[in-house]
Amino acid sequence: MLLAKTLTSSTFRLALIAIGTFGVIVSAIFSYVYLSTSSYVRSRSDRAIMTEYSSLKSAYERSGRDGLIGLLQQRIADGNLADNVYLLADSSSARLAGNLGAWPSAATAADGWIEFRAPEPLPNTTMPPLLRAMSGTFPGGDRLLVGRDISELDGFADQIKTAVISCVVLIFALAGVASILVTRRTVGRIEQINATSRAIMQSGLDRRIPLRGSHDEWDRVAENLNLMLDRIETLVGEVKQVSDNVAHDLRTPLTRMRGRLERAYHGQRVGEVDQSLIGDTIADLDAVLRMFASITRIAQIETQARMDAFRTVNLVDIASEVVELYDAAAEQDGTSLTIAGDRELLVTGDRDLIFDAIANLVDNALKHGRAGGRVIVRNENLDGGPVISIADDGPGIPLEERERVFKRFYRIEHSRYTSGNGLGLSLVAAVARLHEARIEMLDNAPGLKVRLRFSPPAG
């Protein structure tokens, strides 16, 4: 199964192409080495034969046939020249002198280079050797043949040939095995990822790709895929949570409306009762519609559809307007709502959205702060960036809840019966993300301080 996948994998095919190309190049280089080596060795031996032939020829010219016969006998007796063969024959190719029994048939007709197997072994060999020889005819009709035993040269060339061929075969074999192993490994890792993907499609998002701990690129891919799966799992969980909450928040007013209408439908028409029933139903419907509007609005902000409305705005002006708007509400609760800090903090953004975000934070501070307490909106430059903080002196938010409050419909008390729809802080978070502002939740000891840390306006 794995082997079949290995053989059909694209990595393996690529490896085969690489091996093929590499093999052709290596074979070409080795053939060149073999051919040039053997021709070099052969030409050296040919030169030696030629030199010997010339010196014997000049001895013949100098001292005649008998002088050459003497010289040949000397040479044959010389142990250093045991590899050489000599043959002097008359014009009818009959042997006059030399260590070769008869004129070779291959050289009977013409003079020149010949290669032939000796009819009988030379004195120092057991097998009849392979000879390479040069023959020529002197002006008197006598013929001289000078040759050498080239069995050894041939053996040398054969050795090189064997070495070259076995090298090439070995290279091919090793490369083949290596590419199968590498491909198997790659295919194995990919198979793991595939298997996990299939498992996720079939059973659920909780599966993860196993890591090998090798910290190689495959582990990194697996790690990143796992992180992506974590994120997707979280998001899917959130979506589920949100739809559960939406369903819950919708069920309450819808059930109320349904009950009311049903009772009216079966009951008597009484103008005054009907009037108030219709009024209540419209109010409930409005609450439902407002919830949808909030969801749409957050979705719109999150898709960054409003970046085109960005201007340079003074954060302090917006904050002052929010404080002024909420002043009456604070007065009603007996809470003191004040603004403090710098007079001008410029940020690039959408006034309406920033207003909405600050308004939500002030609203929360008034709602969740201590009755008769203090809410302070402070504008300041912190570490070079404009920062607005909204602080109350109420019970605050426990550390472990701080991340979660920005999720849609999240409410600390896990009760869905207090006012507000739990979308306020998600809207703040969405606005902050759009403005690339950071939200920090700090302990105001006592109370909560929420900071919006903007980046300074560009230019």
């Binding site: 419209i282 409005d286 609005r297 409305a309 708007l325 309406d352 909405d356 308004a359 609203d363 729809n421």
Partner: protein, 230 residues
């Protein structure tokens, strides 16, 4: 106000919504013409002088804003009320308010629609030249930016004065919460809290507290109306 100025063109392709709109506006004393498509709106709009034209943003043939542009190019000066779904509120729609037109986000209440149509239709009518506005025993001095009842000054913050001035200018007409947010705070969204009510509540305590009769009245589910008794 002449009859011609109570004439309204409603451009709406959904028959039921169109029926409801026509009925509501007719009940409120308007003479209503209906166009079911952008092309029909173009021919009707150019043929008659309307006080206000309400138009759905999503028409089967032409975009509501394109119809508005076309009629403007043809020299039609009537103010437009564009009715748009929330997801379609883009900069072009938001920009309408700056140009003397208005938009309303679906779904809306008819009271809100009426209030908007009233406000738009009035714009072309009258330009108040007085420097002191009076409703019953309330006097609002636009020059010194002060208000008083029976000669006794009411202490108001600048924004509170602005709110009172706006309500006095719209004496006898409904002003919705959304209209107040737009006019007084220049906000184009619904903060989905009762913050406006609390704010108006404080102005009302200052204006109506310990007086012979109240001037600011709550209109349930929509907003407020400032009027003298009787």
């Amino acid at each position: 106000m002449t009859g011609g100025h109570r004439r309204i063109l409603v451009v709406e392709d959904d028959p039921e919504t169109a029926d409801q709109l026509v009925e509501q506006l007719t009940t409120s004393g308007y003479q209503v013409d209906l166009a079911a498509s952008g092309n029909e709106a173009l021919s009707r709009g150019a043929a008659c002088d309307y006080a206000v034209i309400t138009i759905d943003r999503m028409l089967p043939d032409i975009d509501g804003i394109a119809v508005m542009r076309q009629l403007r190019d043809d020299g039609i000066a009537a103010p437009f009320l564009i009715i748009s779904a929330l997801g379609e509120v883009d900069d072009r729609v938001r920009g309408l308010r700056a140009g003397g037109d208005d938009y309303l986000v679906k779904p809306f209440s008819f009271v809100e629609l009426l209030a908007r149509v009233e406000a738009l239709g009035r714009r072309s009518d009258t330009i108040v030249k007085e420097t002191i506005l009076r409703v019953g025993d309330l006097a609002v001095d636009l020059v010194s930016r002060t208000a008083s009842r029976r000669g006794k000054e009411i202490l108001l913050l600048p924004r509170e004065f602005q709110l009172l001035e706006y309500m006095v200018r719209n004496e006898g007409r409904i002003v919705s919460r959304a209209m107040l947010l737009q006019q007084i705070w220049d906000l184009h969204f619904d903060p989905s809290t009762n913050i406006i009510d609390v704010y108006v509540g404080r102005v009302r305590r200052k204006v109506d507290g310990q007086q012979a009769y109240p001037l600011i009245h709550t209109v349930r589910g929509i907003g407020y109306c400032l009027r003298a008794p009787g």
